[in-house]
Amino acid sequence: MASFLEFKNISKGYPGVQALSDISFAVEKGAVHGLMGENGAGKSTLIRILSGDQSADTGEISLDGSVQHYSSARDAFDAGVIVIHQELQLVAELTVAENLWLGRFPAKAGMIDFKKLVSDVSQKLEAIGIDVDPRIKVANLSIGQRQMVEIAKAVMLDARVIALDEPTSSLSSRESEILFALIGKLKAQGKIILYISHRLDEVFRLCDSLTVLRDGKLAAHHASLAKVTRDQVITEMVGREISNIWGWRARKIGTERLKVEKLGGRLLPNPVSFDVRSGEIFGFFGLIGAGRSEMARLLYGADHRHTGTVTIDGVAVGGNNPRHSIEAGMVLCPEDRKFDGIIQGRSIEENIAVSSRRHFSPLGILQPGKEARLADRFIEKLRIRTPSRKQDIVNLSGGNQQKVILGRWLSEQGVKVLVIDEPTRGIDVGAKAEIYNILYELAENGMAIIVISSELPEVMGISDRIAVMCQGRIAAVYDRDAFDERKILAAALPDRSAAAVA
């Protein structure tokens, strides 16, 4: 069978970075093609070129043998290419249905046919098993729900090529299954699917063929995954072997550090209580919209607490202002890096030092040398791929941005409680292992760590204890020796009869 989609000698450079150099490969019809590589390897750049959003410096893309010359996202649509970008691209003020139709509203003489708008979307969402009301505004959805909406875009248009850039980065396994089923259907219809992910399991399960990028170059191309092993792919990506990425090791767990009692807020109507001991890594698992992120924000004082007390080492922490929490020794690494994490327009160095610089700025006057050293340390430790610490953070790849945010919190001093929401969202395998190691080290030094994750293997791999949340309450808590994938999943699933709400 002839190649349907072909990249020919694609190169793309940004000031200081050669994002892609001379990439060529082809994908066949009815195939799911994986794209892997470290953070900053150039995956998203390639997809962006495919989507018409960016243009390549050299090289060309051909579809069905004809070379494409599109210059905007619109042209790419018209050519039958649809791309789900890594950063969510939704308009918060519009409803779910409007977002899904954006750019091609059903209309007569410019007037929108609202009936069709909603009913079509309802049908499509139902058909693929996404449980969201199409009439509510996207602003009212949790990150995970937004990601599902984004995925639904893939089927709204009868595209020939569908590219998905890390679609599962904040989905738990249940929602991921919905996506996989969807991909299966699309594949059967003869579509061509490009699939980017840092999760090896997914790639091996879904993909027929695989391309690995490294430093913007083509590191490997596998026309079939039959004889390829995971370790081989990791080596191709990272350039070295990683034996066991979880690397959990037993450590001494101390006395109670963080005590949370009856914590409740607007999005968390049923108060939750729990405690975490020093040296303990406490995992939170749940399906999307389970309320974990909201719990973390209330804990940290980012949102208004309606009820509850939080104490660290017996001292109460005042709510409603993150500053109080930081001063009491608790930090939160938020889940939504675009809205709550990165400080746009500022350098990596400033993004890292924004909170911790107060420890080394006497009288409020900066010591630039110290900040530079701090930044360099984390750039190296977290393997942040960038030409310079002065680089504007918006120019980093998604995973590298995430690492910078982690660096911000890991550089804080005197932290007693660390709360991280989706710590490895979009982070490559190599760096993941690195980050887990840092967490273990911190825990060994007596820190209490709360890890929120939608990736069950991750929660099970690194936690000492797991709380499972479901519909805003803690449904179950398991100790490490009682971890069982099926039990945890069962606890996370809402009671079918009560599952009406989105």
Binding site: R74, V83, Q89, V91, A92, L94, G110, F114
Partner: protein, 317 residues
């Protein structure tokens, strides 16, 4: 306060309800306020602001900003008068004015959207350039209207209501419809809410923005023509400071300067609040200097109330 009353006040239409209450209070306590004459006078006094606010709403909703409206209104009024005088045909004069208005808007739009120049600076620049042109073309003096029929544009009545008010009402309805029911309106909101996402979804952001500015210019021309007809001359100094009044009316009416949020009902209320404040202060014979203070306080109060409302609804993002 009973729960349902609270809900009414703080709900989506909160500002409208608060406004209605305030209106009743004013009508009861201010003598001469609720007379037919005063109501017509009031409505006529907000015609310019009201008309221009229609498109300013789109402009703000798409995260843009237009400071040149005041100059454009004056300039188009001048053009209408001068072209009518020169050609002897009112119709040609009107057409010339509308074209000029759209042209000014188009220039704004192209510079802002295509050359990606900051909207504030661009429209501040065109504000000066257009005002300069208006002054140059008339040597800084008002231009009288030769054909008295031109006055009829503003004087003619239908069902007892003067034409400018009808024009304003028609534009309110038209733009309210466009905002909520058409692709153009939804795309405007989408661009304001998230320009990047809209672009990636295939909305032609650049041409949308150009269109919005061109429309703004066109509508300014309508306002300018009616104004010239009402004041029976083209005045190069007319409508100075209009831009801030219009933007305030929009923001009062809940249009977000950060883009993505707008509602015609809100804007109408915003326009009326501005008009009623002036009207009542004059009816009550409040001293000029105190009018400044009162005007400021009313503005503050109106947003404060509206804010209580949206604070109660609460949002994360």
């Amino acid at each position: 306060m009973s729960v349902s009353l609270k809900k009414l006040l703080l709900g989506e239409q909160g500002l409208v309800v608060i406004f209605a209450l305030a209106f009743i209070v004013v009508a009861v306590f201010v003598p001469n306020f609720l007379t037919e004459r005063n109501m017509l006078g009031l409505l006529q006094s907000v015609v310019t602001i009201g008309i221009v606010a229609c498109t300013m709403m789109f402009c703000l909703a798409s995260r843009d900003f237009d400071l040149s409206v005041g100059s454009t209104v004056a300039f188009c009024g001048m053009i209408a008068v001068m072209a009518s005088n020169a050609t002897g045909s009112i119709l040609l004069g009107l057409i010339a004015a509308l074209l000029c208005g759209a042209l000014v808007g188009l220039v704004n739009g192209v510079v802002i959207a295509r050359f990606r120049i900051n909207a504030l600076i661009t429209t501040l620049a065109t504000m000066q350039i257009v005002r300069g042109l208006a002054l140059i073309s008339s040597d800084g003096r008002a231009v009288g209207i030769n054909d008295p029929n031109f006055y009829q544009l503003a004087l003619s009545k239908f069902l007892g209501i003067p034409a400018p008010i009808w024009v304003m009402l028609v534009l309110f309805i038209a733009f309210g419809f466009i905002l909520n029911r058409t692709v153009f309106g939804k795309n405007t909101l989408a661009i304001g809410g998230n320009p990047e996402a809209s672009r990636l979804a295939g909305v032609n952001v650049v041409s949308m923005r150009v269109w919005i500015f061109a429309l703004q210019g066109f509508v300014c021309a309508i306002a300018g023509i009616l104004l010239a007809s009402r004041i029976t001359s083209g005045q190069p100094n007319a409508a100075t400071g209009l831009e801030l009044s219009v933007i305030s009316a929009c923001v009062l009416g809940g249009v977000s300067l950060a883009g993505g949020r707008a509602a015609m009902a809100g804007v109408i209320v915003g326009v009326l609040i501005m008009g009623i404040a002036e009207n009542v202060m004059n009816l009550l014979n409040i001293q000029a200097f105190y009018q400044y203070v009162v005007r400021g306080l009313i503005l503050l109060l109106a947003v404060l109330l509206d804010n209580l409302r949206s604070g109660a609804v609460g949002r994360r993002g």
